[in-house]
Symmetry: C2
């Protein structure tokens, strides 16, 4: 009786599950589809790349579908398919690097392979496989060893692989066929066809340039530092006037910079294979980005300490914090502004060094104020002295960060010369920019304050500014009065 | 006349250069050879790997050299050569991952390809290339898109590539040949032969296990932290008694840890493909290494700040430094010892938690002493207060480092349970270990102090220890008195 009941319950359960299955399957499938859609939307270039690969494959299939082409290449056409699949990389640099490596390695290894077969034939029928075996073993081992050298690994790893592959294949198959030159020629020509299709599709159909990605990545990392600094100010001094709720989540934006080295290295390596494109010339100083990125990462390391101060439970007495709050806020805000200006300078490839230097000077002045504030507000009782240690650490880390911002600015300055950045003046620094002098007979529309920046970037006018050399003064409302004697000439 | 002289000078120069050429060439060649030799000696496994690849290539060439084998496989033997070249990776995990990916992807794509050809043939001679083209385009694009998903990219990237390759090749060549099943079978069988040769050579001829490399790397990174701490003590307090000249170079050993993430990720990923080997079981918790490595890197980030303090010009007054020197020295020494014990625990796969905990407790006690020292020795004049900021930063960073050492110790403890570390007692902590209690009738040879450690690790004896729960006391000579009531039972 009990077993019967048990069986009935089991059956009901099974039926219920069977009933639920379609809806569960539907839920699962829609969830997956949504996930895939979101993934594609996050970076639509992924979808475009997939379509590009499909396109290249369809193009190269013509070697089989079109009778005259099939007649001249025959089954060797599969090398073209193989090449297309293997060489199609996401970035133009990746495709060029693999394509050129493959082409040259096949050429060299094919020639050597043909030579090896001719050499081996001199040794008679019995000696031939032995000589070929020794040659394949030694060249294969030597080329494999060469792949460990960092310089070869970085740029020619794929070439070395294809060298071993082609040499072995030509040398070994040479033992069984007399048409070795035909094989080598067909292999080389189909690889060239496949490689050319890939490279053309990669460059001319929605190209993804590794160099541009690197350029944007470095600029965005600097912006992340700036956002983290802003977020830090809001989180460490919650009473700060400028705090908005949005900034708090940004305080940990710097985290991704700590582990971005390998991506940057790869991009810089691929960018060197790319021809000039957009704003980048052929010999753009790609390796200099790595220097800047290294400094940015060093700076992000100090943010990690700053973040530790934010998360720490041991907070100093509120009155002490409030005494140093103002200089600390100014330091982080000005350093953040300097970082933003540096990032903008990289993004627009124009020099904003006046603006950057002013912000750095402002933050340095604030450091002096901070020192002063620390001097007068050191607590007197023993207990308090220990409590303020985390605050002192925070302050000293902020000072370190400013010195890194300066280093980043210097290295971007150096870079801007090499990369031929265009000279530019930040209109924010020249309050008189609104009142243009009329120097020619046409009517010049007065530029409104809010429009200054766009106007200045886009107009072909030459803007000359003269700045006084005195350090900028920082007043309580944190208005930059650094460029007081600016005169503007619009030609 | 002058031209004549000029020509004579040029000729003399040219002759001189011609004369120097052999010796210069010789110098250059010997320099290169020495460089290559040194590179091979640095990690002899590189040479062994190169020889292994040569060996696999020679073995697979037999498909051509041996008449019966050539008769059955024909020119398809080249797929075996191709497989050997592409699948031979440095580590066993790499070879297995590529080999299995290649085999399964070929199997699935081959079956789908044959199906696609049969489907296309239903649409008549004109419709066939169109249907095939659409299938190749859509499956190629979909598989390419799937390679962007992190989970697929991490483990099945090569499989997806081979899937596209095989499917396109089988589907497209199916248009021109009726022997498509023969082609698919030959391709699959030769790939299996090539892959099997690679995997066997990789596992049985001087194997390089990614798992073991990861294991050693994590342990060595912890040792690097310990060395940097020791070096820091010597460099920051040059008058310290324990300073030897050798330690100073070690202070920046931690630097390599900051950028080791990608190597660790790769090794952990490959290790999961490896079968059980040596001390590691099949389901060894490889991903847990990444957690430990993450904490080690977090700790290394604080070393960067410490290093900044060492390099900083702004040194505090000597009398202030000398007041906090002792607790700081003890903190760094004890934290260093704790790190060394943790690294030893990982290396030997035995638990040394008593030893580690004692050192951590000691360093925590020293932190209390440091706080006390800071309390009594805060300078009174205003100027000095600012001067000591870098020292306070240093001290607070040291305190942070101790908390990270504790976190690392906890995470290694967790890991040791999952990885079945054997229980072990550090003989240094148990002074009574020399006097074993005789519990059975055989003679137990008294263990000498110096031999304890080895004896303890190798003997099959069960060691049971009872510790008192009081925190260890730290006396001036820094002797650990943590485990005072230890009783040892040898069964």
């Amino acid at each position: 009786m009990e077993m019967d009941l048990n069986a009935q319950v089991k059956k009901a359960c099974f039926l219920q599950r069977l009933k639920d299955f379609p809806s569960k399957l539907k839920d699962g499938v829609t969830k997956h589809i949504k996930h895939v859609q979101k993934f594609g939307k996050d970076d639509p270039r992924r979808i475009i790349h997939s379509i590009k690969v499909g396109l290249s494959l369809t193009l190269v299939s013509m070697l089989y579908y079109v009778r005259p082409l099939y007649n001249s290449f025959g089954v060797s056409g599969m090398w073209a398919i193989l090449t297309v699949v293997v060489v199609s990389e996401f970035t133009v640099g990746g495709t060029l690097s693999k394509g050129l490596n493959r082409a040259f390695a096949t050429l060299i290894a094919g020639a050597l392979g043909v030579g090896a077969v001719h050499l081996a034939r001199l040794c008679g029928h019995k000696g031939e496989p032995i000589v070929l075996g020794i040659l394949v073993f030694s060249l294969g081992a030597a080329a494999t060893f060469s792949r460990f050298f960092p310089r070869i690994k970085q740029r020619y790893d794929y070439g070395a692989l294809i060298f071993i592959l082609t040499f072995s294949m030509v040398a070994v198959s040479g033992y069984r066929t007399d048409e070795i030159l035909v094989i080598a020629y067909q292999r080389l020509s189909t690889i060239l066809i496949g490689g050319t299709i890939c490279i053309l599709v990669s460059i001319f159909v929605f190209p993804v340039w590794a160099g541009e990605d690197l350029h944007k990545m470095v600029a965005n990392n600097i912006i992340k530092l700036a956002n983290s600094l802003e977020g830090f100010e809001g989180e460490y001094f919650p009473s700060s006037e400028k705090t908005s709720k949005g900034t708090n989540s940004s305080v940990r934006e710097y985290k991704s910079i700590l582990t971005s080295k390998s991506t940057e290295d790869t991009l810089a390596n691929l960018a060197r294979w790319e021809p000039g494109h957009g704003r980048f010339r052929l010999r753009h100083p790609w390796t200099k980005y790595l220097k800047i990125a290294g400094l940015v990462r060093q700076c992000a390391i100090h943010f990690e300490v700053l973040n530790g101060c934010v998360l720490s439970d041991a907070k100093a007495p509120q009155d002490f914090i409030s005494k140093i709050q103002e200089p600390c806020s100014i330091i982080s805000r000005e350093a953040g502004e300097a970082l933003k200006a540096i990032a903008k300078s990289i993004k627009t490839m124009s020099r904003y060094h006046v603006c950057v230097n002013t912000h750095i000077k402002n933050s340095k002045n604030a450091i002096e104020n901070l020192r002063l504030a620390l001097k007068v507000s050191f607590p007197e009782t023993d207990k308090d002295l220990l409590e303020i240690i985390p605050v002192v650490t925070m302050a000293s880390t902020l000072i370190d960060i400013v010195s890194y911002v300066e280093k980043i600015s210097e290295s971007v300055d150096e870079f801007s010369v090499l990369a031929h950045f265009k000279e530019n003046l930040d209109p924010k620094l020249s309050p008189e920019l609104g009142q243009h002098h009329l120097l020619h007979k046409g009517t010049v529309k007065p530029v409104l304050e809010g429009d200054n920046e766009e106007e200045c970037n886009n107009s072909p006018h030459v803007v000359i500014a003269v700045h006084d050399e005195q350090p900028p003064t920082v007043n309580e409302n944190n208005v930059n009065l650094g460029a007081e004697k600016t005169t503007v000439v619009v030609v």
